[in-house]
């Protein structure tokens, strides 16, 4: 059969009509299925193998540096007194932050009836899960005695001891753990109908078997759809407070302490904003590449990307506001330690990191005030990467606040060791390995949901409409 005729993007008018038209290139139901499913069925492109090998290599570095860490001890990192937390925690917060976009898009935008989410939510959710996976490794490995880390769980034991539920770290364990679990459930529920699609398109017994098992015998029954949609709605409903709470609780790791520069009430909202900020940036980075490679141009249109850039602009500015507010409050509090901490951030030994953060997070997104920039692929690609660099540095700057606290006698300066760096790079290996597997074997776009928002999907979408017409044409073609 003929491949769907995709009109080059440039020719597409961005009229009001097109605006609400979420799917371009005049695709019909079957074409949507084709576009999304094909990448998982075609012979694997060499490029994928190359990328995958690369990712695996980096993942190897990750594994190696973790093994060495367990063998030698946390001393191989740059940690010291007074800086007891280094890159491990920075990376943790960085990855958790990135892990926010997915659930946000799926849940919050769903509740706000933002139909445009349908073509990116699957993708974003996957990214969320993989990011959370990366995040979760760090708190695990950064403890001094990994083999006893399980004491953080309230398990009955012969010591008669229980964890300390007042510790933000313990809150983290539960919050991030819950978040990871819920994200996976949410993602899987969304996948069920599409897995069924893949099952039904299966050419080999193996595929039919695997996708068959995974799709739980889904048969598109209307009676199922009723519960299914309810479940989806509820999941969206409970994920929304969850996604907001997770980074709130992560921010408590700092905010609940007494360390000047950490002990501030602004942290929760500011962290959440930052998380969405970095999350969306990462989605843009990946999407820009993926739609190019897999030809999702008609499903993930410039309009989608522009909408995300708007959110990046918004959250970026929010974060900028938070930076400013921190300073004001520090001064306004009249607490000399607090005030010093912030002056020290901007002009102390770590000023360089601070200004990288400011320029990447506050200045760079401002370009998105201009529509041209918002709609320019290269610009948004570059900016989204800047934002992620900036957000990593934000966490770095925050963590490094430790280096000068109350007693000048105990001030110090933290330098990462080669192992800090390798571990961080390595975590990208884990992320991309999982991501490439996802792109290869699972539908990267929510097929059923996209179909649901196409005009043809509406029963009252009258007869003789172009959906039908084009169908007839197809018939002619054979």
């Amino acid at each position: 059969m003929s491949t769907p005729n995709t009109i080059p993007e440039a020719l597409l008018p961005t009229s009001v009509y097109e605006e609400e038209q979420l799917v371009h290139g005049g695709l019909n139901f079957h074409d949507v299925t084709e576009v999304v499913a094909r990448p998982t069925e075609e012979k694997t492109p060499i490029a994928w193998y190359v990328a995958f090998a690369l990712a695996l290599g980096v993942l190897g570095i990750f594994g190696a540096s973790i093994l060495y860490l367990i063998w030698e001890g946390t001393g191989i990192w740059g940690l010291q007194q007074p800086v007891g937390w280094g890159w491990a925690i920075v990376n943790f917060v960085f990855w958790v932050g990135i892990g926010h976009a997915g659930t946000l898009i799926s849940a919050i935008l769903f509740l706000f009836r933002q139909k445009w989410r349908t073509s990116i939510n699957r993708f974003a959710e996957a990214m969320t899960i993989f990011a959370v996976a990366c995040a979760l490794t760090f708190p695990g490995i950064h403890v001094g005695r990994i083999w006893f880390a399980y004491w953080m769980f309230p398990l009955p034991n012969q010591m008669g001891m229980w964890p300390n539920f007042r510790s933000p770290l313990l809150w983290d364990v539960f919050a991030v753990g819950t978040y990871g679990t819920v994200s996976i459930l949410f993602w899987y529920v969304g996948l069920i109908p599409d897995l069924a699609t893949l099952r039904d398109r299966a050419k080999t017994k193996a595929r039919a078997l695997i996708y068959g098992i995974l799709s739980l015998g889904w048969r598109g029954s209307m009676r199922h759809w009723v519960h299914y949609e309810k479940a989806y709605l509820i999941l969206a409903g409970i994920s929304t407070p969850l996604v907001l709470s997770v980074h709130t609780i992560v921010s408590f790791d700092f905010a609940v302490s007494v360390v000047p520069g950490w002990h501030t009430t602004i942290f929760p909202p500011y962290f959440v904003a930052g998380a969405i900020f970095s999350g969306f940036a990462m989605v843009v980075t990946l999407m820009v590449v993926a739609r190019q490679v897999f030809g999702f141009k008609d499903l993930v249109t410039l309009n989608h990307l522009e909408k995300m850039n708007k959110i990046i602009l918004l959250t970026g500015t929010l974060v900028g506001y938070a930076y400013g507010m921190e300073f004001f409050i520090a001064w306004y509090s009249g607490n000399e330690y607090e005030a010093f901490a912030f002056v020290n951030r901007a002009f102390g030994p770590y000023a360089w990191a601070y200004w990288i953060m400011i320029s990447c997070n506050v200045i760079s997104p401002q370009f998105f005030w201009f529509k041209k920039m918002r709609r320019s692929i290269p610009v948004m690609f570059a900016l989204s990467i800047f934002v992620n660099i900036g957000m990593w540095f934000e966490r770095f700057v925050i963590t490094m606040t430790l280096h000068r606290d109350f007693l000048p006698s105990s001030w110090g300066y933290y330098m990462p060791s080669i192992w800090d760096i390798l571990t961080f790079i390595g975590s990208f290996g884990l992320f991309f390995t999982l991501f490439l597997l996802f792109l290869r074997f699972l539908p990267a776009i929510a097929i059923a949901e996209v179909k649901g928002v196409m005009p043809e999907a509406d029963p009252h979408h009258g007869h003789g409409h172009h959906g039908e017409v084009r169908h007839a044409e197809h018939v002619e073609a054979h």
């Binding site: 001890g73 007891g84 001094g144 302490s257 360390v259």
Partner: protein
Amino acid sequence: MSQNHNENRSELLPIEENGKTYWRSLDHVAGTSEFRDFVAREFPEGASELNDPVSRRSFMSLMGASLALAGLGTGCVRRPEEKILPYVRRPEDLVPGLPQFYATTMAVSDMVTGLVVEAHEGRPTKIEGNRLHPASRGGACTFEQAAVLSLYDPDRTVRVFQDRVEKSWADFDAYLDGLLQKFRGNGGNGLVIVSESSASPTFARLRRQLTEALPQARFFQWEPVSNERVLAGTRLAFGQPLEPVYRLERADVIVAVDADLFGSGPFHLRYSRDWASRRAPDAPGGMNRLYAVEPVFTVTGASADHRLRVRSSQIGPFLRALAAELQGQGVAIPAGIAQAGQGAWQKFVQALARDLAAKRGRSLVAVGRFQAPEVQAIAWAINDALGNLGETVRFAQPADVPAIAPTEAIRQATALLDGGNVDTLVVLGGNPVYDAPADVPFAAAMQKAKNRIHLTQAPNETSALAQWVLPETHFLEEWGDAVALDGTWSLVQPLIRPIWDGRSKIELLARLAGSQQTKGYDLVRATFLENQGSEADWRKALHDGVVDGTSRRWVEATLDAGSAAGAAGRLAAPKDGLELVFLVDNKVYDGRFANNGWLQELPEPTTKLTWTNAALMGPALAEKLGVKSGEMVRLEVGGRSVDAGVWVQPGTADDTIAIALGYGRTFAGRVGNNRGFNVYPLRTAEGAWTATGASATKIAGTALLAATQDHHSMEGRPLVREANLRDYEQNPYFAREMVQHPPLVALWKQHEYTGQQWGMAIDLNSCVGCNGCMVACQAENNIPIVGPEQTRMGREMHWIRLDRYFASANAADPTDLTDAEVVFQPVTCMQCENAPCENVCPVAATVHSKDGGLNDMVYNRCIGTRYCSNNCPYKVRRFNFFDWHTKGTGTGGNPLTDVEKMKFNPDVTVRTRGVMEKCTYCVQRINAAKRDAKVSGLEKVPDGAITPACAQTCPTEAIVFGDVNDPNSRVSKLKKQPRNYEMLAEFNTKPRTSYLARIRNPNPELVS
């Protein structure tokens, strides 16, 4: 000359076998059955510990592993099998598991200190001062406390060696008898003995015995750091060599002129205590006033009310100027002493003179031991004129002054050796090859002797040139005796059988002297019985450690004005230009403690440098030379040169570079080799302490200078709170009012703390920053050594630290540190009632104890998130980033050997990698006291029954510990004082440790 001096040394390097010189064969020895046998014989319980895979002393990491096994193992998991080796015949009054205490004495050259040593199943583990001993009064300085580590030093001489081959004592005795036969024949002609100095009467007795037996034999005593100039000074002033002993408790005004009264030298512990006794603003007799006049910061200068930077060579002129001013005040200074000075110090001198003149008989001008005898004489003249002699200073007949002063002695010995007709050279301890004056080529000369014998605790540079290297006993292994500065006679008794079958100096000396007795015990006892009396006294002396009423009869000293004036006249006019000052190091002394990790890792009190010395210079000079801290300079004196790292030290005199002796050892051992820079090659006999006409030039390269404190300003924060006496009297509560904060109310109901609740008060007024508490803590709590690299990363493990802050003395420009004021603040865990660290620990590894109210740290529960440390406002928590003991970063990369493990205190868990640790107020001592109270049926632990290691050893008793719920306990009384304040209390952490603000007592005339 130093060049070839060095060359000989390098060509004489013994062959290195895998980085260990041949005789450092411990690592295999320690593994051998032989060593285990020794251990088994000496203390079976210890043996079981050593052999046993999971013992307290073989770290928790192993426990962790075995637990893990239990987790993984199959159904029937058993712990690894442990052995118990009971005694065959248990010693009397030994209760396994309970420590025993014995009195003994340690002498570091002429520093004699009475000690009480704690032993566990026969292993000495902790050294404390002996309250009965005048030089100690219960305090102990860093050297003495760290000595226990040297006992277990694996780099000690573990065998008799001849030409680097293992031999036995039998072999040596045979050899020696051969030699002695010859010498008995020729009256000892050709026999030269070079010994380090000794304060032991028995040693002196045997020395006399030797010279009688072999009149031709020559006996020399060399000591790089000695009191020879003091004796020379008193000889000039009073016509006879005398030992001055100060009585600071009687002095209202004390002037320390280049004298480190509290830092080092005999009686420095005693002096600290006496000074502190008059330090409290409400002290009986009023608060004393301390002036310090010195070229570079010492702890004494740091504690002074006024400090004047004066170049070492200017000290003489300064004193003469002072004398002149005193004359002006009507003080009868003998003629020829005074000489009106000109210089920046006039204002200071005038004020000082008025102060002194007003306090005749109640003042003291103390001159450093290393100033020229002439300078000392001037000081005595001044003191005499002020009527201080007999009042604030007394003179004692020196124990037994060797006919020849050390410097002269080493000169003569070298000359003799150089002459080439020395048949046998016996070096008793010491290390002349390393520390002989630069212009005395001992190393070269030594090799001209046919037979060279070195008795030494650890092989060193001198042993490298000897044929016979003999293991010398450590003072904890030997019998001996010593006489303190004031003549107090005390005994040295062994706490452990010689680990390496060594012999003491007196034992070898006895053989040389051909004495019948050769056992230390007999020798010492003989001396005692002939001088001090009966068997009963002997037993009492053993128990007390000191012999009552032996402090020497005091001598009336009358000034020989003429000779003093003559001396003053002889004072050379000070030269301009750069001058070099050599310092006795507070850590390695003259180099003998270089292989002691505890001392190496100790931060030098005023620079906070560890593991190294450095060329200390003021900011101005540094600028002139264009160097910064950590860069290198080449120091040159009289054609000899040494390269050293630079450390910019505030308060250093102009054009002065001060650098400590004792570093750059090449044969110290795994810990001490090549740490810092050896400046002996610059140190001549004449310029032993001050070398004028020196030069310094910047050279390429950087030095590994690991300081434990990188930031030296208090940033105007109210951490250390101080005031002048006058302001204090106007407002005693100034310290509490320094921080304004709203009333501290908690959001929730606070816990009730009933029963005995522990707390601590630290008096910043009497803390002199001597570091005693740090070593005490390290020894008591099994604190590991991490080495210079890790220290520089900020990973040092000390539970208690001494924060040192500089403040500019220049009101106009606070950044100008040419003249600086120093404050010390001991900081350790505050045991906060609302401890921030506790909240954040996810596994409840640090929680509060209800009885005692301690901030418990449970090592075996800790998983090492380091969150508690981040959240500790006082940053007193320490993390085991590695398994320091097995990784051995502090011992040249060598894992701890079995013999080293014997130093551990079995009452404290040895922490493993990945665990947080911190001060617990020595909870093991608290529990021990509680146990004793319980067993003896008491309800409460009496006040004073518990003293944490730091408080116990503090020479000035600045740290007081006790029950804060008992209004009559010492600590409660201190906390009631107006000076009492809690650091960072505004955060409502409710610290149990509080500080007493520091009060300065400046001369009103000098307060601007």
